[in-house]
């Protein structure tokens, strides 16, 4: 283990300690605690959608559909199957199962993506989102349009923190691998990608599986902060929110997603005194952003600390005769 990874490990553990301390000590108000958890959940959602829209260059507008599945599945497990018993033990499992079920449904979107791209795939994902919502509204056993309740507040800061780290770790390792390069090449030119031996279908399935898994996880965490969910929480507006965070932070950037989710979530809270008008300011910001800086805050750049060592030190090592992008 190199010195850098040791430092990382220490930081991660310190972070955990901090999370637990904050929660136990009551240092922060319940409100701020809640917002912090939303920030974390939104980071997971944003990063996972960034994989599809940013790195792979598809345009999915139905991410909330996967989130909905995760939210309902995890709630059914904790409330109906375990009757809120053994919460802290069952919960991590419930969240993982939620992710897996959400991932399983991603084939509905992945298969059409073999044949269509761009707008039409966007419509397929949209339809997926709408269908999930509509099905949930029609299952009376799950409360139908009234929603589902009875979850205990099993999500805590440490939980959210852990899942955030896992998401960042997985996405970063995926992106800086053979698979990640393949995904980027699909964004650039899908046909050419196939013609340099990339199995584009396999890659698409993989990306949708990973992205929807984490969306499902985020749904599970969300349901157990809110302790109440209804199909409307996962309508197309929610998907739009996630999209905004992705493009606000910047596509194809892990740090961008972290920033985008944080800035957007906090900003919406700060605007709360505006009442209804805050929902007017949000969209205007989005439009201005798209016109003035369409690549988002980070604009395709990555925080260098997130790039694996093998991928970054090369530049200095391999001689002075290396031309850099600015030449």
């Amino acid at each position: 283990m190199g010195p850098k990874s040791r430092i990382t490990l220490v930081l991660v553990l310190l972070g955990f300690a901090l999370c637990i301390f904050i929660e136990r000590s009551g240092l922060l108000s319940a409100y701020i605690l809640q917002i912090s958890m939303y920030v974390g959940i939104n980071i997971i959602l944003t990063l996972s959608l960034n994989l599809v829209n940013g790195y792979m260059g598809e345009f999915s507008v139905g991410h909330a559909g996967f989130m909905a599945i995760g939210a309902y599945v995890s709630s059914i497990i904790t409330v109906r199957v375990f009757h809120n018993q053994m919460g802290p033990l069952v919960f991590p499992l419930a969240v993982i199962v939620a992710g897996i079920v959400a991932a399983a449904t991603s084939f509905v979107v992945a298969f059409p993506s073999f044949r269509t791209r761009g707008d039409y795939l966007a419509i397929v994902t949209l339809a997926f989102n709408m269908i999930v919502k509509s099905v949930l509204e029609n299952i009376d056993a799950l409360g139908g349009p009234r929603g589902f309740m009875g979850m205990s507040r099993l999500t805590n800061l440490a939980n959210v923190y852990a899942w955030c780290l896992i998401t960042i770790y997985v996405v970063r390792n995926f992106v800086y691998s053979n698979f990640g390069r393949a995904v980027l090449s699909i964004r650039e030119d899908e046909v050419a990608s196939n013609l340099v031996s990339v199995n584009t279908r396999q890659m698409k399935i993989m990306v949708f599986l990973i992205a929807s898994f984490f969306a499902g996880v985020a749904g599970g965490l969300f349901a157990h902060v809110m302790q109440f969910i209804n199909p409307r929480s996962f309508a197309i507006q929610k998907s739009t929110d996630i999209l905004v965070m992705v493009y606000l932070g910047g596509i194809g950037s892990i740090f961008g997603s972290v920033l985008g989710a944080t800035v957007y979530t906090v900003l919406l809270e700060l605007l709360r005194p505006l009442g209804v008008w805050r929902w007017v300011v949000g969209p205007i910001m989005l439009v201005v952003l798209m016109i003035c800086r369409p690549t988002g805050i980070m604009g395709l750049k990555e925080l260098s600390g997130l790039i694996p060592r093998e991928e970054q030190v090369l530049k200095e090592k391999e001689g002075a005769d290396v031309v850099t992008a600015s030449d």
Partner: protein
């Protein structure tokens, strides 16, 4: 049973006509800019409010109802077209050569803006559209239809027919098709591209404006969120028909309206209609990725 079927067909025809008027806007803008104008449903909602305020104003001035109706239509179409052109100029034009995602997200943003702006200024309370037309029920044997219903169907079909003529036969229509085919070449050939794009937005939204007035006469409850559902449905209609294709949009609209009207007859509750509509959409897209009447383009390597 047969009578019920016929009656529902008539209702489907009415609903389909309104959907078609809105779907046209989606399809025309997509045809020319390759942009899904997600704000269109909310533009429709705005047009309903224009119609509402115009109708109230004209009626309080004591205009005879039929005159008030015509004036309301005019005002709503005009104002809606203006709003749409304004949106195009301010929000979409700067993004014409940007990555398409930026434009689509902007459209989503504009839609949310319109919705929430209306909510913030006019409040969430639904408004009731005043009756502009004498609502007479005609009976044709066991079948009943209202004058409003007949008028909606007739006006919509006339509008669609006119629009089809405009696109197919006039110079403007030709220019639209040229811009839709290749913006750069069209502008080299002397087509005023910016103007044509604005005209397209104007026409598409004016037609939606007419749809707004007709819709609120038939279903007289107006609220800031009404554009969401109807907008989506019109959008699905446009996609099923093959987005970018004017006749396809009309076909899709009627198909979808029949789905909506007949779903409750087959399935236990009307809440299934979204499910059915989106499933139809998914199936169409999987079988024919460019819609029923959309042209299939192969990628050149």
């Amino acid at each position: 049973m047969i009578i019920l079927l016929l009656q529902q067909m008539l209702n489907g025809l009415q609903l389909g006509s309104v959907y078609a008027l809105i779907a046209l806007g989606y399809t025309m803008v997509y045809g020319i800019l390759r942009l899904i104008n997600f704000a269109h449903g909310d533009i429709f909602m705005i047009s309903c409010y224009f119609g509402f305020f115009a109708a109230c104003a004209f009626l309080s001035k004591g205009l005879p109802t039929w005159l008030a109706f015509i004036a309301t239509m005019m005002v709503s179409m005009l104002l809606t077209a203006l709003v749409a052109v304004l949106i195009e100029r301010v929000a979409y034009k700067p993004l014409r050569y940007a990555p398409k995602v930026s434009a689509v997200i902007t459209a989503l943003g504009i839609g949310l803006f319109l919705e929430n702006f209306t909510l913030a200024t006019l409040g969430p309370t639904p408004r009731g559209m005043p009756a502009l037309l004498p609502n007479v029920n005609y009976r044709l044997g066991p079948l009943s239809m209202s004058s409003v219903q007949i008028l909606i169907i007739i006006i919509s079909i006339v509008l669609m027919f006119l629009l089809d003529r405009v696109v197919q036969k006039t110079m403007t229509g030709m220019a639209m098709r040229a811009v839709s085919y290749d913006k750069t070449t069209a502008s080299v050939m002397g087509v005023p591209v910016d103007k044509i794009i604005s005209i397209t937005f104007a026409i598409g939204s004016a037609v939606a404006g007419a749809g707004g007035v007709l819709y609120s006469l038939a279903y007289p409850i107006i609220n800031p969120y009404m554009g969401v559902r109807i907008g989506w449905w019109a959008f699905i209609a446009a996609v099923i028909g093959g987005i970018g294709n004017v006749r396809g949009a009309m076909l899709g609209a009627y198909i979808l309206a029949f789905v909506e009207v007949f779903t409750p007859m087959v399935l236990p509750s009307s809440t299934y209609r979204d499910f059915v509509a989106f499933t139809v959409l998914l199936i169409v897209l999987v079988v024919r990725p460019t819609g029923l009447m959309g042209r299939v383009t192969a990628q050149k390597v």
